[in-house]
Amino acid sequence: MNNLKYFFAFIFTFSNIFQSCDVIEGPFTEEIIVEECAEKCKKILLEDYTGHKCGNCPRAAEKAEELKEIYGDQLIPIAIHAGFFASDFGGNFTTDFTSTAGNEWDAFFGNSAAGNPNGMVNRVGYPSSDHITQHSQWAQKVDELLQSDAQIYIEIEPEFNASSNSLTIETTTEILESISAPLSLNVILTESHIIAYQTDYDADPQEIADYEHNHVMRKSLTGSWGVDLGLSDYNNGDVISNTFSLNLNENWLAENMTAVAFVSNTNTYQVIQAQETYIME
């Protein structure tokens, strides 16, 4: 009798797990309706840490493109080639997509050490390991961040001189909501539509000769950690202007390049606002 009592208690307590199953019959996806970006809307920086010899990385790049399609201007993806899979130039993989700032970010945030591919969405979560997210988590993170309003607006005005291959970028940072923290402005260049080798474990053959690399971070104009915007407290209406110049590498194709600017909290590295524009009209 005693045995039976325990037996039934045991079954009763855990019988609920037999109901613990959700079967999705389809559709498996739902349509996301993203409101059109207002003039000074919030924009999200998505950093995809990748490498041309990383066989799983094309899945992350596809996810970035899928999200770009959905969120449009409100999402700014950049591909940062860094770590083991990006630094191996053996065989057909002769193109160097790495950059000084990208390597330093990777070493600092620990992305490639955690296993490519992965990324950061506005660098939220640092310094806990939560800042490194799998590509399957990006949509959720982007969606969460877009629920809040923009605190900053950034305007980028590039001026490219084709004859001298030189570029001048003027940025205007406007504070929309008071912020009590030091801020850093980062300006980088990205290039898309670069055709070069990429490993893809899902492809046959796995070395793809004509892979299109997009949003590749080429260079930072503001060092690895940006330039200080000069204050420790920022009030609504504050406007800060900056100018940066450089000569483009002759291998870069200006018509496929964008300037990406983002402002981050200097103490937490969290990105507060981002902006992107093509350097040629």
């Binding site: 325990y6 037996f7 045991f10 037999f18 613990s20 199953c21 066989g55 799998q134 070395e207």
Partner: protein, 546 residues
Amino acid sequence: MKKVLYGLLFCSGPLFCQGIQNGHLSGNFQSNSQLYYEDADLGITSENLPSEKFLINSFANLLYTTSNFSAGMRYEANHNVLLGFDKRYNGEGITYRYTQFNKDGLDITLGNFYEQFGSGMILRAFEERNLGYDNAFDGIRLKYSPFNGVYLKSLIGRQRLYFDKAEGIVRGFDGEISLNESFESLSDIKTQVMIGGSFVSKFQKDLDPIYILPENVASWASRFSIYHGKWIMGAEYVYKYNDPSATNNFIYKEGQALLANLGYSQKGFGFSLAAKRIDNMSFNSDRNLGGQEVSINFLPALTKQHTYALATIYPYGTIANGEMGLQADLNYKIKKGTLLGGKYGIGILANFSNAYSIHKAPINEDTAIGESGTLGYTSDFFKVGDDKYFQEYSLEISKKINRKLKLIGTYLNTHYNSNFIVGYGNYGMIKAGIWILETQYKLKPKHSIRTELQHLKTAQHEGNWAMGLVEYTVSPHYFLAIQNLYNYGNKINKTHYPNISAGYTKNTTRFALGYGKQREGIFCVGGVCRNVPKSNGFSLSITSSF
């Protein structure tokens, strides 16, 4: 007095103390450390040398047990973790603690625990320290045997993720019945039958704005095993409902796994046959974490586990998204006193294993195989796919020549498809033949010398390897070993990997000091793998228990 004091440490009141005094306290400690150096031959420069130069993994377990109560804990300190281990293990803390007691036959565990249902293909939590693998549960587990031969287990908890826990909650129930124990009329018959079943479900909130994800993913399994004299046979089938995850590229197809085995064993002869089919069976506590992190289940590799250095270069790692394979093992001893067996007999071990892809076909004309947000693909259960992942056959012959000398000769032939097995990158099908000769010679009582000569021949990847080892042991306290691996067939860099190590053991405490070079590669146990980076330096290992 010592025992009473220990008992009092765990007592919180007089009632609770009943039955837990006069217990036994035991524990163990292990520390592995390495000092890293630059090495021009290996391409290790100051830039890729760990900044700390010195890294250490260490832990200690404490366990207190009485007749019906036990409690324990593990403290880990990794400052910082050795190269090749995930850096998220950096730090220190209590990573395992539990209490377990048995009252009226009900066994209750609170806190951390390891567990396995059936073969583990539906649920297995275990630790493999050499891999940096630990998916222990933190929660509650109950075990109960309501009738003779009926064994029930249930659990709920979250799994370890480095120094944190996975997001998902795992619930599980397992029941097993031994017919011969349960029914008196069957107790004396020669055939022993056991049947069992499991149900496991995980919960993880759906916060994804694009996919409609199942928050509760369930899996069930059924199994049997039959013992009849020298024969044993068994099988387990696992079915998993839709579980879109990072590993399967967010497809909604069901998962299936089947493992069947047949074995025979008698003195001097035995064989076993095993076959498996795995389809979309990655099952993780967190759908966003790929690979081996917080795995709820364990998918066996079904290949021979090797210990010889060159035989471990191309190990098979299970491909959870789909594989079919089989393994056959044979052992036979040629009797002593026969023409072939001679004075001491000859031992023969033979093994064959392989793994292929499974058949996959698109679900319709417009959908690519494995496309996210779809049912992924269809698969004919009994049809083998086009790709061979792995194949190996091996033969080991051991012969005792006289009272002092024993020889063990081994040949392995391995086909390792590097395009699919995680580890080395795209070198295609690597075909390797490996010859090994081990000698064991007793010089005098307590003094023995062991040597290994190994050779790996392959035209692919890094080419040929040779290896030699000499180990001198003075039982039970000392050993000294010198070995060298030479990658002489490498077209880019013919590298030597010399190592020297020495050890001292006193009772239950062991020190081992080594210096040398470590080749880059992949290390696997049972199909679970980790990358091992190249290194050069001193290593020190200390283990102790009481």
